[in-house]
């Protein structure tokens, strides 16, 4: 096989002629810039890239990408993208969605795309609020959230998107943050390289209706102590001085955070995103507290499983192998199959 030709694209090539219309200061701008900046790395021609979105602030994303794109209907982007990806395995298909779009109205499509392992890169912008409809609580809002629709606080418990994705048999699960461009792009890179569904949760700030939701993970004073930066093959330690670590306590089901100084080095968990049992990644996804302490970011899980697209295409290819008739001849044979009789 010959080396692919370098397309020499730049971030500018991925900017459409449409005026970007998110609120000034919205986290979506940073994500858009990071994605546009990352896209040239893929070395995929713009015409072979498609962004499909649902409804919500984040779902305006495709209009701003100079690729093919569809801004569809609320919650249905994974379903529409599945049909596109399965019938066009030559395309790089990205889904952009939000916490309401993916986890509320479209929850069913999200989990089924993940269990099928459709070759989609799903970017979930999680701002824990409904922005486009002006500030109702979302399925990722914390219990007791006071919003226009919950004046005395919401009564329902939120989803943990990564736990949900892992429960849905996702083969690639990661989390990143809108404001950390370098980290965001590293996660996009890993997602793009994954064959099958890649689920990426991006913590995104809505500065109008839920401002500062992720501040402890962003403020220089707290972020190093709060964030766990997962790196494959590395012991999981974190904190400004590496003072915290993650262990698997004997007899326990999950993972816990300990003081590094008081923990023997061999007890510190070495991160391995390729662990077959999703229980490990699930335990990682359960580490954060309500105050966002112990929030892992990076690739939680990345395992190999044949994608739905590839299995479907293989079945079609197997059925067509050795067929030497024209489609018309085949059709003629099909119509005349079964018990026939002829009248002269």
């Amino acid at each position: 096989m010959s080396e692919p030709v370098a397309l020499k694209l730049t971030a500018k090539d991925f900017k459409s002629d449409q005026e970007v219309r998110w609120c000034p200061g919205c986290g979506d701008y940073a994500i858009l810039a990071a994605v546009q900046g990352f896209m040239p790395e893929l070395n995929i021609a713009r015409e072979n890239i498609v962004f499909v979105s649902g409804i919500g602030c984040s779902s305006r994303f495709p209009y701003y990408m100079n690729t093919y794109g569809m801004h569809s209907i609320h919650g249905r982007a994974p379903a529409i993208a599945t049909g596109l990806s399965v019938s066009r395995p030559d395309l790089s298909v990205w889904v952009v969605t939000g916490d309401g779009d993916a986890l509320s109205i479209g929850g069913n499509h999200l989990i089924h795309a993940l269990r099928r392992n459709v070759n989609l890169k799903i970017l979930l912008f999680n701002n824990r609020i409904y922005g486009l409809t002006k500030g109702q609580y979302s399925p990722t809002s914390e219990v007791g959230k006071v919003t226009k629709s919950t004046p005395v606080g919401s009564a329902d418990a939120p989803f943990n998107p990564l736990s949900l994705a892992l429960g849905a048999e996702a083969t690639f699960v990661a989390r990143t943050i809108d404001s950390d461009r370098k980290h965001l792009q590293s996660v996009l890179r890993a997602a793009a390289e994954h064959q099958g569904s890649a689920f990426v949760e991006i913590y995104q700030n809505c500065n109008i209706f839920n401002d500062g939701a992720f501040d402890p993970l962003k403020e220089p004073a707290t972020r190093d102590d709060f964030l766990i930066r997962l790196e494959h093959g590395q012991p999981i330690t974190f904190g400004s001085d590496g003072q915290f670590c993650v262990v698997h306590p004997p007899g326990g089901f999950g993972l816990e955070v300990r003081e590094t100084a008081a923990t023997p080095a061999e007890e510190i968990v070495v991160h391995d995103a390729t662990v077959a049992d999703p229980a490990y990644a699930f335990a990682l996804s359960r580490l954060p507290g309500l105050d966002l302490r112990n929030t892992p970011i990076g690739v939680f899980r990345s395992v190999d499983r044949p994608s739905y697209d590839s299995v479907v295409q293989e079945q079609v290819a197997a059925a067509r192998a050795g067929v030497d008739q024209t489609p018309e001849q085949q059709l003629s044979a099909l119509l005349g199959s079964g018990d026939t009789w002829t009248i002269l």
Partner: protein, 615 residues
């Protein structure tokens, strides 16, 4: 003994039994034998939604009616001449449909006290005079089958289960059917278990021989082949024909076919059938729900495939938001609605035509789509091709309104020459279409078809974004401009309204009819048979049948206005009649039934005779 042979021109047989008795298969085999003989045929299966309702009960009765004749027929027949009743429930459930004098063949082994009690018979109807008006043939079907298989290496249960083949053998003898296809069928069906092939063949032969030897059956019947157009035929159900039509649409368009579907009665058979045809490049996806099914189909259409979704009424309701998106995106999409009795779960295995309003209007906003309906089982093939043609040529969703009656009914189908099928090839956009030679305008329309270019991902230089937000004319950019929205809404309406569809044809052989019967969809057969009946009695009546419900044929208004009375029989409460009245200001008379069953020709004939008297 020598049996008398009597010629008949037509016969209606109903096989009825418990849902586990194999009556659908028995009917199907009898139909196939009958087709081999060259009779014209029409069939009507009738089965419960429950897979196995409690054995021996009335709700568990499953039946299969076959009408065959030496001339062309239009319906499965109003009333059976022969009932095969495998148990008391089957007798009780079907007796009211039998005219006096009909033959009833009963399996006496099942007329036990317990089985009789299950359906409320205090005494056996075989022992009292309640069946005095009928020609009853008591046959110990089960015990004779078991007896015939005594030497066979099969369990008693398997032997008992072969009783439907005994019944089939007997009926095949009675009506002089060629049975080679049934023997071949049994060899295929039980290929893995040769002992079952032998047992079922032996049961079939035992039934045949029983007819030949017993004195109870003194007459054997013959129905001569019908005069049919020359060519090769097969018997086909509506769902099978519709599936083949969709495969043919893929071949004739050169596009891959993508079906997104969620299992639902009575449409699932289309999913099953299409999933067998991967070598044609047909991809089928059993989606997580109805919404995903249509979404995936639309996604596939966006990528350049022929996107199809198949369902029944409840599924169309769920899909409506996505169909509206397809209206806004102006992409091809075929939505098959095999209608069943509603609302809600309704009667899933019974027929109805009550989704017409939903097909025409059931979406938010002004969201017109094209609507096509097949008139008979074999017509489903051509209607599917027509739906695909409109979808591909005019880049629009098309709803194909089948129903349970045509979907599960069957008739002989004259196989078409593949080369004669419509050419459905489409041209994808490959070049910028803007005046500057570099810009691509995704909503710049073809002046003839009003269709926008189909620019599929992967086409360099035509990268563009589309979506559900209102689009500016030509550029497709998001637009909230009042005048633009008004223009786009009117253009989307005009796109559908101006699709050229063939004129509606009127059948008025006498040429002096003053009453027109207008139908659509599966009522074609019963209406046609009723009109024939009237004409045979010297009465004049005209018949017109709509295949295109949206847009309607251009000549329809003129046709309607040229008759003194327009009668519209429908299996709903007057949905087409309502449209006709609103659109053409014609005082259409509705004739409406929603019993889950097709019209009988006789009831339509009676109704029309009344109308004729009062013109």
């Amino acid at each position: 003994m020598t049996k008398q042979i009597r010629q008949l021109d037509r016969v209606v047989i109903r096989f009825a039994g418990d849902s586990g008795d194999g009556m659908q298969l028995t009917g199907d085999r009898f139909t196939s034998e009958t087709a081999q003989l060259g009779n014209d045929i029409s069939t009507l299966p009738n089965f419960p939604a429950e897979i196995r309702a409690p054995a021996g009960t009335l709700p568990g009765v499953s039946s299969f009616q076959v009408h065959f004749a030496d001339y062309d027929i239009l319906t499965p027949g109003d009333a059976p001449n022969v009932l095969v009743a495998m148990n008391p429930a089957a007798l009780k459930a079907n007796l009211a449909d039998l005219p006096r004098g009909a033959d009833i063949i009963v399996n006496t082994d099942e007329f036990t006290r317990r089985n009789l009690a299950k359906v409320g018979y205090a005494t056996s109807p075989l022992d009292d005079d309640s069946l005095a008006g009928y020609a009853v043939h008591p046959v110990a079907l089960t015990s004779m089958t078991i007896g015939a298989l005594a030497e066979h290496d099969v369990s008693k249960k398997d032997a008992e289960r072969a009783k439907n083949m005994f019944a089939l053998g007997l009926l095949s003898w009675m009506y002089s059917r060629p049975y080679e296809s049934t023997l071949r069928f049994l060899e295929r069906k039980f290929a893995a278990r040769p002992e079952l092939v032998a047992a079922n063949v032996a049961a079939f032969r035992a039934g045949w021989n029983f007819g030949e030897t017993t004195e109870d059956f003194s007459v054997r019947y013959e129905v001569k082949p019908a005069k049919m157009l020359p060519g090769t035929y097969r018997n086909i159900t509506g769902n099978a024909a519709l599936s083949l039509g969709l495969v043919a649409a893929g071949v004739r368009s050169g596009l891959p076919v993508f079906l997104g579907a969620y299992p639902i009665t009575p449409a699932s058979d289309i999913l099953h059938e299409l999933s067998k045809h991967k070598k044609f490049g047909v991809v089928t996806m059993q989606a997580e729900d109805e919404i995903a099914a249509v979404g995936a189909a639309l996604g596939a259409s966006y990528g350049g495939a022929l996107g199809i979704t198949t369902t029944s009424g409840p599924g169309v309701a769920l899909k409506s938001e996505t169909i509206s998106l397809a209206v806004a995106l102006e992409l091809p999409l075929v939505i098959v609605d095999v209608q069943r009795a509603g609302p809600s779960t309704g009667m899933p295995t019974k027929t109805e035509q009550a989704d017409l309003n939903m097909a025409l209007y059931g979406r938010h906003g002004e969201a017109p789509v094209a609507v096509v309906a097949p008139k008979s089982p074999s017509d489903c093939f051509h209607a599917a091709l027509e739906a695909a043609r409109i979808a591909l040529t005019y880049r629009t969703p098309v709803i194909l309104l089948s129903d349970n009656y045509v979907a599960n009914g069957s008739e002989p189908w004259l196989l078409p020459d593949v080369e004669s099928l419509p050419d459905l090839r489409v041209e994808f956009a490959t070049e910028p279409n803007g005046e500057d030679g570099t810009t691509f305008l995704p909503y710049l329309r073809d002046p003839q078809t009003l269709a926008r270019p189909w620019a599929v991902p992967g086409t360099a230089g035509l990268e563009h974004r589309i979506g559900g937000l209102e689009k500016a004319d030509k550029t497709g950019d998001i637009s909230y401009d009042p005048a633009n929205h008004d223009f786009m809404v009117r253009t989307r309406a005009a796109r559908i309204e101006t699709i050229p569809v063939p004129d509606v044809e009127v059948e008025d052989p006498d040429g002096d009819a003053r009453v027109l019967v207008l139908g659509w969809g599966s009522t074609y057969g019963p209406i046609g048979a009723a009109c024939r009946g009237l004409r045979q009695r010297g009465l004049s009546v005209a018949q017109a049948h709509l295949r295109h419900l949206a847009p309607m044929p251009a000549n329809l208004g003129e046709v309607l206005r040229s008759y003194d009375r327009v009668v519209v029989p429908e299996m709903n409460l007057g949905q087409l009649a309502h449209v006709i009245r609103a659109k053409y200001l014609v005082d259409a008379i509705g004739y409406n039934q929603v019993r889950g069953l097709p019209f009988t020709a006789a009831e339509l004939e009676t109704m029309l005779e009344e109308v004729l008297k009062n013109v």
